[in-house]
């Protein structure tokens, strides 16, 4: 086993699949010689050559179109969108084309494509670099949306994504790239897409979340523990399709649920999770399901980002409100 950061685990997953399957191709802006602006593809072009790992001209819609076309001719593209705010540039390619390939052809064609992209905030980037647009993708039928919160999960989920015959958007929270290391097996392994993971067991309240907020929630749980409150943390890991079963099981145990997302409130993942809980476990609830989210503005200007992104205190406040309800 090796100690890896999340970005190293991601590189390792791509290396594993580039080795395993000659049809895997990695491409995007600056992913070749430069190894990506975050160095996620560091060394891959050198190892696998320019035909397998390559730079594209600067156009996200072009990259998506290329991926769809290569997918139709037997390749397994792993394309990068340099920052997820550039998703809007290729919204039709992804939501209007790629996601509908299987459906539109009555099952004849498909898009075995992985879209990797850094997302989330808290690292003081300019506009449209930090953003939480995962909700837009989760509302797009035909696409799976995976968001790992740890290096171990990142490697196993990315390998599964690359092997998946349907399009998978794999979102990498920028703040988690190098924030910590953990043991990651050097050999290959997969983690099933669509399965949540209990990151902390507890009995008093369920906190459902994903991405960087998993760690914010874990810190909040540590503080709550000092006050004798035992929180359980469900890391969704995949936001589409949603692992409703794991969420409901946890809620049935704790009878309280807080859903936390870094994204804005309106029509988000938290709203969706909250609706699932209400529909399926209303009689188990001691308090309404509550949400912790960012406010409904455009993503915050960098200077005020820290106040805008939900923090531990926001989670603690909601947990207490639930317990005092």
């Amino acid at each position: 086993m090796a100690q890896m950061t999340m970005i190293q685990a991601i590189t390792d997953a791509m290396r594993t699949e580039l080795k395993n399957d000659e049809n895997v191709l990695v491409f995007g802006e600056d992913v070749g010689q430069n190894g990506g602006v975050f160095r996620a593809t560091e060394g891959l072009q050198k190892e696998f050559g320019e035909e397998r790992v390559f730079d594209t001209p600067l156009a996200e819609s072009g990259i998506t179109g290329l991926a769809i076309g290569l997918g139709l001719t037997g390749f397994r593209p792993v394309m990068e969108i340099q920052f997820f705010g550039f998703l809007f540039e290729t919204m039709d390619g992804i939501a209007g084309q790629m996601s509908r390939m299987r459906y539109r052809s009555g099952g004849h064609y498909h898009s075995p494509i992985t879209i990797r992209s850094p997302f989330g905030g808290g690292v003081k980037t300019p506009e449209l670099h930090a953003d939480s647009l995962e909700g837009l993708m989760a509302q797009t039928p035909g696409i799976k949306v995976v968001i790992p919160s740890t290096p171990y999960d990142a490697k196993g989920l990315l390998i599964s994504a690359i092997r998946d015959n349907d399009p998978v958007i794999f979102l990498e929270h920028m703040k988690l790239y190098r924030s910590f290391r953990e043991e990651v097996p050097e050999e290959e392994y997969t983690i099933e897409i669509g399965k949540a993971d209990i990151k902390r067991e507890g009995k008093d309240v369920t906190i459902v979340t994903y991405g960087a907020m998993v760690h914010t929630a874990l810190r909040a749980a540590d503080q709550l523990e000092e006050e004798g409150i035992d929180a359980e943390i469900v890391d969704l890991r995949t936001i589409s399709p949603l692992d409703v079963e794991t969420v409901i099981e946890s809620v049935k145990k704790t009878n309280r649920a807080i859903v936390v997302q870094e994204a804005q409130r309106q029509a988000g993942i938290a709203a969706n999770v909250s609706a699932e809980i209400s529909e399926r476990a209303i009689l188990h609830l001691e308090a309404p399901v509550m949400r912790v989210t960012a406010p409904d503005t455009v993503y915050a200007f960098a200077e005020v980002e820290d106040e805008w992104i939900p923090g531990e205190e926001d989670i603690i406040e909601k947990v207490k409100a639930s317990l005092d309800f």
């Binding site: 003081k124 409904d296 200077e303």
Partner: protein
């Protein structure tokens, strides 16, 4: 013979130059009509901008500025084109094009606020016709066609100018922008600053086309490739494009062939991963300031004393602008909420109250 036709077209896009690397006028006939004072002013702006760029880089390293894309090497391309504009012309810049909008009237401290990620950077003064620097590569290009058409329909004697890079010319928006402007014969000028790299990707990998200027042919508009290290050539090409546009002859695409000396931005780019020191040296020998200084000195218009004075002024101005940025009140989440709509919907009103409570703690 399609190949032949292509070669013929490509051969028409030779580099337009007035002032060569040695500071000699090589194209007297094209020499723009600039007074001595204007020539000196252009030089002052280039020197000033280079100092401000150096200061901005070190302020960024000290954590006192945020997002910053260095401009050294591109001064002629940026400032020569802006100098050809009328005060009421519109500029739609990319993220690197801060010098043009500052010389067009945006106060420097606001450029610093923008860099720090403060909305004050976007609150453009009423009499300054510039947009905020565009982050999404290419988005400004289509909008320029719209601004230009608007100016034309309103009967204004003004143009819209926009800037992008060699990478930007690969975006669909680039082709749409030049095509729309051509279709409406809108008074627009599209400048592509070809500094030969899009972050790490060399321009040769962007397209099979030999020049970016030749892409004007497919859009049916004028195109010219200019030595982007020659401030006189850039000025002249922009001035001509502007005049044609105002005569009703439609837009022009200008490719300025240049180089950025520094990293792509200050956010961790390492140019040694994709450029050689030899290439850096080769381009520093073409430096726009050096050759223009040589010319002005030969005319007796420039001296070391003058240069020092401008450098001191730039340093002083940067210091004051940073202070003014420091003195600007820190923004609040409630303010972000207020900017969302003309009037707040109830749901946002509730969120506003929530943050108001937090902010008054």
């Amino acid at each position: 013979m399609p190949e032949k036709r292509l070669q013929e077209i490509e051969s028409k896009f030779e580099m337009f130059q007035i002032l060569n690397e040695k500071g000699e006028i090589v194209n007297e006939a094209a020499m723009p009509d600039l007074s001595d004072d204007e020539l000196v002013e252009l030089m002052e702006r280039m020197v000033y901008t280079r100092i401000w760029d150096q200061r901005a880089i070190s302020l960024n390293r000290q954590g006192r500025l945020g997002f910053y894309a260095p401009v050294a090497g591109q001064e002629a391309s940026m400032l020569g084109s802006q100098f050809a504009l009328d005060k009421k012309d519109w500029i739609l810049p990319g993220y690197r094009d801060i010098p043009q909008i500052v010389w067009h009237g945006l106060p420097l401290y606001q450029a610093f606020l923008y860099s720090r990620g403060h909305f004050g950077g976007g609150q453009i003064p009423e009499d300054v016709n510039v947009l905020m620097p565009q982050i999404i590569i290419g988005a400004q290009i289509v909008q320029t066609a719209g601004v230009a058409l608007g100016l034309k329909r309103k009967g204004k004697e003004n143009i819209a100018i926009t800037y992008t890079g060699d990478g930007g010319a690969s975006q669909g928006d680039f082709y749409e922008g030049i095509n729309f402007a051509g279709a409406y014969q809108a008074p627009a000028v599209f400048v592509v600053q070809n500094n030969q790299f899009a972050i790490s990707v060399p321009v040769e990998q962007q397209s099979a086309a030999k020049t970016i200027a030749q892409k004007s042919v497919a859009a049916g508009i004028r195109g010219v490739m200019v030595d982007g290290m020659d401030v006189l050539a850039v000025y002249k090409a922009t001035k001509d494009a502007r005049e044609e546009a105002l005569k009703g002859n439609g837009p022009t695409l200008i490719e300025t062939y240049c180089y950025r000396y520094g990293p792509h931005t200050m956010a961790g780019d390492d140019p040694t991963r994709y450029r050689t020191a030899d290439l850096d040296d080769e381009w520093e020998r073409k430096d726009p300031l050096v050759r223009f200084r040589t010319l002005l000195e030969s005319k007796g218009l420039w001296s070391e004393e003058k240069e020092n004075e401008v450098m001191e002024r730039a340093k002083e101005d940067v210091k004051n602008a940073i202070k003014q940025a420091d003195d600007t009140p820190k923004q609040k989440v409630t303010e972000l909420i207020e900017f969302m709509y003309e009037s707040l919907p109830d749901s946002l009103e509730e969120q506003w109250e929530e943050y108001k409570k937090k902010e008054s703690k």
